[in-house]
Amino acid sequence: MIYAITIYGEPGVFEALPKERQDDVMSGHGALQDALKNRGAFVSMKLMPPTSAVMVEPARNDSAAPLIVDGPFAETKENFLGFYAADFKDLDEALEYAKMISSPIARLEVRPVAWAGGALSSD
């Protein structure tokens, strides 16, 4: 079963951490990426800050084009910052891997994926 490990937090808090603490967080991500790489395909994404987002609202009726609105979703307290997705044996295994990137500044959600497709990487 594919599980997505999604990351929520307040944008800006990571940037406000001292360098060593940022490195701690990033080393967790490095470890998780290496571990996932060793066991097969995975995707990981860090989203840009929500302020760079544009919203596409559903069209009011079938003939209209969807409405594009500038700006992200209104002030949600926690923002969706990024995610990992990989094929895990079961929920327990997915949770084991999620622990590698646990930190006080982010909340993680581990959720089964119903369907998936495509392959993408920027490096």
Partner: protein, 411 residues
């Protein structure tokens, strides 16, 4: 653990101080109350864990702490007599985003108080809104902490003696405030990016904090093209920070920079913001400048730079901001398009306006060197040295003088 909490406090500070300043109408009291709430949070969150909404928690705790202070202190009488009406209540649970938006804008605007000179406006914003220590700000401006302390105290007194309106701004006022505040952030970054004079070229703290403020504005006003473009512009310049100074501390011009040292993630974010801003409008001063910076950032090499696009955008910028400095930059682009002789002639028109602007003489020297007029080039570079360049600039200009002298020696 406390590093994580410090980071959270730093992130909440602008909005918290802004809301508390509205409630108490006193910046010092707002700062004290927030500091107390943070101390309480260290204890409570340490044992119970952080609340789901740290801002609401901090605001409620700080408001109570501040009221407590007022009850005990003699300042109460003074503050109460200044504002006879009751204190405005804070939202009990979730703060209203619209209200917070106006609070932060109001606080930023208070820091841009017209009675203060630009440097003091910036210093107060760094101290009050971002919570930088006096020592950090002093090192940012290369002055002694004691001097900075006195300046900030004096500036805050001036603000207290000439209060700006605390009412919610009208849409027109909001527009005026936004552009005033944006300009302050832009100048803060400039001061960090190209120090007016002194031993170092860049004061990265100032640049980074200006970016933080620009980010805050974008978060508050996500649909304003100019504010997105301002953040994009700052990120695009900041991306080049590692390539601007070489190993010997010399300034490296754009043409000679190692582009692999440019920060790609800054550039990527800036491009996304700029594309978004361009959907909204095309003619703002920050949008045009960010478009120019983006043209540099997306050129793989100096030769591949789209100088025609850059020149036309400087022309558009000149229409909005007809200043000699904008014109100088336009001529720099024209030099690439039409050659150095064309540019040297064009510079004639600026001789009077920019006689004390060191970049004018540096550019003119470079162009004269290109056409082989080394005597005139040396004279231009020597003028730069009399106009208090920073140490890295001095080193780069001295090198250029040596090159021209060497050329003359061979004749």
């Amino acid at each position: 653990m406390s590093d994580w909490l410090d980071a959270t406090f730093a992130e909440q500070r602008p909005r918290a101080i802004a809301a508390l300043t509205r409630v108490f109408r006193d910046i010092d009291l707002a700062e004290e109350a927030f500091a107390e709430a943070c101390v309480k949070a260290l204890i409570v969150w340490g044992t119970d864990g952080a609340p789901r909404d740290p801002l609401a928690w901090l605001l409620t705790t700080a408001r109570n702490a501040g009221l407590d202070h007022l009850r005990k202190s003699q300042r109460r009488a003074a503050i109460l007599s200044r504002h006879s009406e009751e204190f405005q209540p804070l939202p009990a649970e979730t703060p209203d985003p619209d209200e917070l938006r106006d609070d932060v804008l109001r606080l930023l605007f208070i820091c841009c108080h017209p009675e203060l000179d630009r440097q003091d406006q910036i210093a107060v914003a760094l101290r009050v809104i971002l919570g930088l220590s006096v020592a950090e700000i002093a090192s940012g401006f290369l002055v002694k902490p004691k001097t900075m302390e006195q300046r900030i105290t004096r500036a805050k007194r001036k603000i207290a003696e000439n209060p700006v309106a605390f009412e919610t701004p009208t849409p027109q006022e909001r527009g005026v405030r936004l552009s005033e505040v944006s300009l302050m952030i832009y100048l803060m970054f400039n001061e960090g990016w190209s120090t007016s004079s002194g031993p170092v070229q860049m004061k990265l703290t100032l640049c980074e904090e200006a970016i933080r403020l620009a980010r805050l504005l974008v978060r508050l006003f996500p649909a304003m093209g100019e504010q997105s473009a301002l953040l994009a512009l700052l990120l695009l310049q900041h991306a080049r920070r590692h390539a601007r100074i070489d190993g010997d501390g010399k300034l490296v011009t754009l043409d000679d920079q190692d582009r692999s040292l440019w920060d790609r993630s800054n550039i990527a974010e800036a491009m996304a913001l700029l594309q978004k801003a361009q959907r909204i409008n095309h003619r703002g001063i920050y949008i045009i400048q960010a478009t120019i910076a983006a043209a540099h950032a997306s050129a793989a090499t100096s030769e591949k730079t789209d100088w025609a696009l850059i020149e036309s955008h400087y022309a558009a910028l000149y229409a909005l901001q007809p200043t000699p400095v904008v014109r100088l930059n336009q001529i720099a682009a024209q030099a690439k398009l039409h050659g150095p002789r064309f540019a040297i002639n064009a510079l004639e028109t600026l001789t009077e306006d920019l006689s004390t602007y060191r970049w004018f003489h540096a550019m003119r020297g470079g162009l004269l060197q290109e056409i082989g007029d080394h005597r005139a080039a040396i004279a231009a570079f020597e003028t730069v040295l009399t106009l208090t360049p920073t140490a890295p600039e001095r080193a780069a200009v001295t090198d250029k003088i040596a090159i021209s002298q060497n050329e003359l020696g061979h004749l």
